[in-house]
């Protein structure tokens, strides 16, 4: 069923397609995160604006991806911009929700203590609120990465300069060649899992304090 000879002939292609796939996804996640972080900080203490921005990012998320790629072609052509804009837009909802949830979850007593010790609002955000939001923020990065790696395949519709591993899926589909379809699909799944595992490791590294959290009843019986 699998044409192993064909697989053997295309391993070089596989390597650079994986790299392309990863790069397309990384650009989208990076840009999406930067935009979302800026938007989140901007709307954080503006409740009405916040509701509007979160709703808008939700509406964007409902647009079918194939349609969005197609709709952009007349505007930006078969370019990198056309490939990245939908990918970036789809990350906004995930990032905004997680960043804001993370910032909302910072305990009020911690904020009061920070104010009382003489943090300015900027240093408080940078040194207290964002670090404490980190577990949820990295959770958002994991979610957005996995979903973007899936979506990059769809950008293969813009031609063989895009799509990463999706290129093989489109080609295999066109020639009804199952080996090539799997040649694109399985590595893209593996890539998503690998990135997710790597991000979990990063999270452990960046938030040692969250790992040390012990349930109330299981704390060492230290003298009070």
């Amino acid at each position: 069923m699998i044409d192993w000879a064909w697989v053997g002939d295309h391993l070089d292609d596989l390597a650079w397609r994986i790299l392309q796939h990863f790069t397309l996804a990384a650009i989208a996640v990076g840009l999406g995160f930067a935009v979302s972080l800026a938007l989140s900080i901007w709307v954080l203490r503006r409740p009405r604006l916040r509701a509007a921005v979160v709703t808008a990012s939700g509406v964007l998320y409902t647009i079918p991806s194939l349609a969005l790629f197609a709709a952009l072609v007349p505007v930006t052509g078969l370019s990198l911009v056309t490939a990245e804009v939908p990918l970036v837009l789809y990350t906004l909802l995930i990032f905004m929700r997680n960043i804001l949830a993370g910032l909302d979850a910072v305990p009020p007593d911690v904020l009061e203590a920070a104010d009382a010790m003489g943090y300015s609002s900027g240093t408080r955000l940078a040194l207290v609120e964002l670090p404490l939001a980190l577990p949820l923020v990295i959770g958002g990065i994991r979610l957005a990465s996995v979903s973007t790696i899936g979506l990059v395949t769809v950008s293969g519709i813009l031609g063989d300069r895009f799509g990463g591993l999706g290129f093989f899926i489109f080609e295999g589909y066109r020639h009804t060649f199952m080996t090539e379809i799997l040649f694109g699909a399985l590595p893209s799944i593996a890539l998503a899992i690998a990135v997710d595992v790597a991000l979990v490791a990063v999270q452990r590294r960046l938030t040692p304090w969250a790992a040390q959290q012990v349930p109330e009843g299981m704390r060492p019986a230290a003298a009070s």
Binding site: G118, P220, S224
Partner: protein, 386 residues
């Protein structure tokens, strides 16, 4: 150590938008002075404005009118960030930073002030020592690995890190169990003997106020200061019905917690030394109307109580089968503790000893009872006069 500074409220009023005076958290024309190095406890029912008053000192809340001075400086004229770094702040939920170690938490203000890292660390260790936590085992832990009492200690250490002249404490021991609270209160009092900071301490618990305060400010709903005086004065002469009800019908009893055995005129006691002449002891025992003789050793240390008629008619005094020589008080025992021990003892007299454990005299339940009645009378007289 930077010296403590006085804190002065001058006609401070806080009203919330859209509400008049008398709403929860409002403060109405508050004027009081906390002398440098003293503990002032703000106490009152919830909504009386005590926490609002506290938070106006470090400008977490800005007053509607009036001003607050630290030393001679109006806090409203100082840069708010710089002001707060010079005022220690401890709250009930502690508010430790979960993502920082205990050492980093304690060094927060020194870090904000830009001290070099070595000095920050040395200061954090010094303060952990001060609050009774071994830096070697605690500095590298995260707050999630601490008990409630330990967190509160770290909170106090953090507030003291930059050696501020003023410390604000908002129900600092409200969230820990009574045994830990008692211990933390005692530790804070001991700490204060060494540091002599100006402390503003908020609580809703009148017993805590009496125990912790050099001065107590009783506030009532509407943010009015009902009385500002020493704990003893407040218990002896409540300024109005509200204060009287707030300190409770048992205020005579509470006052006993403020008086120590060392300040009481002791009742003399008839003693008989072991090995002394029994007939002579028996004769002396009959001279007072107390039915017991205290048997002591050759250095006048109490051994046991012996009924007058159980002393042999001749021969020598021996410590044999009398009642235990208890309770024993020293000059630091409060009359409140003394009374509760007396109520549980066989002989209704407490033996007061000095540092060498030699007998000085007796405190009886009757003496304490007289004291309660006397303070109740002075209170009645003063409330009749107002």
């Amino acid at each position: 150590m930077s010296s403590a500074e006085r804190v002065v409220f001058e006609h401070v009023t806080k009203r919330y938008p859209g509400t008049g005076a008398g709403n929860p958290g409002a403060v109405e024309d508050l004027s009081l002075e906390v002398p440098a190095g003293k503990v002032c406890v703000l106490v009152g029912p919830s909504g009386c404005g005590k926490t609002t008053s506290l938070k106006m000192v470090n400008r977490l809340i800005e007053p509607t009118s009036g001003r607050i001075l630290i030393g001679d400086t109006d806090v409203g004229r100082r840069d708010v960030i710089e002001l707060r770094r010079r005022i220690g702040y401890v709250i009930q939920q502690v508010g430790l930073f979960p993502h920082q170690t205990v050492g980093e938490n304690v060094a927060t203000v020194p870090r904000l002030l830009g001290w070099d890292v070595g000095r920050q660390r040395a200061r954090a260790d010094e303060l952990l020592d001060l609050v009774g936590l071994d830096p070697a085992s605690y500095a590298a832990r995260y707050p999630s690995a601490l008990s409630g009492g330990e967190r509160q200690r770290v909170g106090v250490a953090r507030a003291l890190a930059a050696d501020p002249p003023v410390l604000l404490m908002d129900e600092p021991f409200g969230a820990v169990d009574p045994i830990v609270r008692e211990r933390l209160q005692n530790e804070l009092l001991k700490l204060q003997e060494r540091l002599a900071k100006t402390i503003l301490f908020v609580t809703h618990d009148i017993d805590e106020a009496i125990k912790m305060g050099d001065l107590v400010a009783v506030m009532q709903l509407g943010g009015h200061l009902a009385q500002y005086a020493t704990p003893d004065e407040i218990l002896a002469r409540p300024a109005n019905d509200f204060v009287g009800r707030f300190v409770g019908a048992d205020r005579g009893l509470k006052r006993l917690a403020l008086v120590r055995v060392g300040s009481v005129d002791l009742q003399p006691v008839t003693t008989a030394m072991v090995g002394g002449d029994a007939a002579e002891a028996r004769r002396r025992a009959a001279e007072d109307d107390f039915p017991y003789v205290l048997v002591v050793d050759e250095r006048n240390r109490p051994l046991e109580w012996c009924r007058d008629d159980a002393i042999p008619a001749e021969g020598t005094v021996a410590a044999t089968n009398g009642l235990p020589a208890a309770p024993i008080f020293d000059r630091h025992t409060t009359l409140k503790d003394a009374l509760s021990m007396l109520l549980a003892s066989d002989v209704q007299a407490g033996i007061v000893v000095d540092d060498a454990r030699a007998v000085r005299g007796l405190v009886t339940a009757d003496m304490i009872g007289d004291r309660i009645r006397a303070s109740a009378e002075t209170a009645a007289v003063s409330s009749g006069a107002t």
